[in-house]
């Protein structure tokens, strides 16, 4: 395709979008920045404190606990969901009515309101009225997601796997479907084993979508709030308190606006960094894809 023409009037087309997003984004963000550098002792008395809040937040023990918890969680999420999602995509049928039916069933968990996800698992994991809880108990395991910290953590992980693996699977599935038949035919002719087909054809061709899946799952799990909140409320203790909940507790619960605002900005910048990486990666992918299309 020929080069895109330069047209500054295109700004008019963008204007509605800018207005909507700016209204929702810039104004609040400015508020946050405002709060992060002030001590609001009362609505009338505000003192400029510079970076004091930032420093205090970084020293907060609760933050360290939540951050460490979060990193472990996001790491575990990736370790489980990426391979599982790929395996699921490989197992899903490629065409026919079975493909549509499987797609609907697999995608179902993505469309459940997040609090309902939490509720479903809250019920499911209880030992008195939940299928999983009762089954575990009958198997002799002293299972309790309210009392036992590691049980709670694992249950939250299991819930997230149940909830979000389909996203990875659907991305990988789309990547797989884009591989032309000729590659599989050539592999048959070359006498390649099933594993060789996976390693040399499928995996490389899925590289793009998988990278997106990795970055998306990392970022989304880094921001997770509702599901663990509904399931465990962050407990027992702070075993399942992750970063978003830490922030919400500070802002709404304790009404420590200053530190909360400061942490909001830090939180935001961490994710911004990952977003930058994602964006550049996708740009590179897009260019590589165009090259491949031309050759």
């Amino acid at each position: 395709m020929t080069e895109k023409p330069v047209n500054q009037k295109a700004w008019f087309l963008i204007l509605p979008v800018l207005v909507c997003v700016a209204f929702s984004a810039i104004v609040p963000l400015m508020t946050v920045v405002n709060y992060s550098v002030q001590d609001i002792i009362s609505p009338e008395r505000r003192v400029f404190v510079g970076t004091e809040w930032f420093a205090a937040v970084m020293r907060d023990q609760d933050l360290h606990a939540a951050l460490w918890n979060q990193l472990k969680f996001s790491g575990a999420v990736l370790l489980v969901q990426i391979p599982l999602g790929i395996a699921l995509a490989l197992a899903m049928p490629a065409s026919g009515w079975k493909a549509s039916a499987t797609l609907v069933l697999v995608a179902l968990s993505l469309l459940i309101p997040w609090n309902v996800v939490g509720t479903i698992w809250q019920i499911f994991a209880r030992t008195d009225i939940g299928l999983m809880g009762a089954t575990l108990e009958r198997m002799g395991i002293d299972y309790s997601y309210t009392g036992n910290a590691s049980h709670a953590w694992l249950t939250v992980l299991l819930m997230d796997v149940w909830h979000w693996t389909p996203l990875v699977a659907l991305l990988a599935y789309a990547g797989l479907r884009s591989i032309p038949d000729a590659y599989y035919q050539a592999a048959r002719i070359d006498g390649a084993s099933k594993f060789a087909v996976f390693r040399y054809i499928q995996l490389p061709k899925m590289r793009g979508v998988l990278m997106i899946a990795v970055l998306l799952r990392f970022m989304d799990s880094f921001m997770i709030y509702t599901e663990p909140f509904v399931l465990t409320g962050g407990g027992p203790g702070n075993a399942t308190t992750f970063l978003s909940q830490y922030l919400t507790q500070k802002a709404v619960g304790q009404f420590d606006l200053g530190p909360a605002a400061a942490f909001s900005l830090i939180y935001f910048f961490i994710i911004l960094l990952f977003c930058f990486v994602l964006y550049n990666w996708m740009l590179r992918l897009g260019q590589a894809g165009k090259q491949e299309g031309q050759s």
Partner: protein, 270 residues
């Protein structure tokens, strides 16, 4: 040679589907029981099958209004999002202009922001503007996340349409609005479908902002569900029924766009 492979994969697929559907089945199961039965005995199928829970939700205004509220702001969000995203996506797809790459990136960053960061500012902003507890407030708040996504997805689909089509239309004397509505839009049907799906998906499931910005009038179903504790203890049966009903719209939407889902994900833009 292929038989064994299919067998192993089918078994794995079925196992996963069971894993995926089990919790949902359990909730459906519970929604047809009475609270008594839930607490007293443990059964795989309701012994005393009852519609009472669903009846309650459909008749009690405090329950069904929750669904209606959710659907209202989700619909608002979808309409506004697609309306503003279409021209913007067209601009990004067809033209270069000052700051285009930077604006695109900035749009994406909004999708990537933790909603928790906006909690307090939104609360204050909407209170100041007097839009607290309205459907439009939630729809506007959700715009923050759905518009960038919509622009992103639509831009991808639009870039797949050769510019020659636009040029031919101009030569043939079409005005821009007419060209856009009668020629261009039908070509990117799939893209609009995918976008609508993701808008719906995000807005329907989001809780934090929806709950923060509403109290009574525009309270979404998600918030209603948290108030099922009464004097006699947790109202599990009604809760389960409410949960099941929240899945239904999602299932319907997936069914309608099932053929486009693969395409949408193929753009790698989720």
């Amino acid at each position: 040679m292929t038989e064994k492979r299919f067998h192993k994969r089918s078994i794995f697929l079925i196992a996963y589907l069971i894993f995926a559907l089990l919790p949902i089945y359990w909730m459906v199961n519970m929604s047809f029981k009475t609270n008594q039965e839930i607490l007293s005995s443990f059964t795989l199928l309701p012994q005393e099958f009852t519609w009472a829970n669903y009846k309650l939700i459909f008749t009690d205004e405090s329950w069904y209004s929750g669904y209606i509220n959710s659907m209202i702001y989700v619909a608002m969000n979808m309409v506004i999002t697609i309306t503003v995203a279409l021209p913007a996506a067209y601009a990004f797809s067809r033209y270069r202009f000052l700051g285009d790459k930077h604006i695109f990136f900035w749009l994406l960053t909004n999708r990537m922001t933790p909603p928790a960061v906006f909690l307090l500012p939104f609360f204050q902003l909407y209170t100041t503007v007097g839009l607290m507890d309205t459907h439009i407030a939630v729809a506007l708040a959700h715009l923050l996340f759905s518009v960038p996504l919509a622009v992103w997805i639509l831009e991808g689909f639009m870039s797949g349409i050769p510019r020659e089509i636009d040029e031919t239309a101009y030569i043939d004397g079409y005005s821009f609005p007419r060209f856009f509505l009668t020629i261009f839009l039908p070509l990117i049907k799939a893209g609009v479908g995918v976008t609508a799906f993701f808008c719906f998906m995000f807005s329907w499931v989001e809780l934090l902002l929806a709950r923060t910005l509403t109290s009574v009038n525009a309270k979404p179903i998600a918030a209603t569900m948290t108030r099922t504790v009464s004097a006699s203890g947790m109202d599990w049966a009604t809760l389960a029924a409410a949960g099941v009903l929240t899945i239904v719209p999602g299932a319907i939407v997936i069914w309608f766009v099932r053929n486009y889902i693969a395409k949408g994900f193929a753009m790698g833009r989720v």
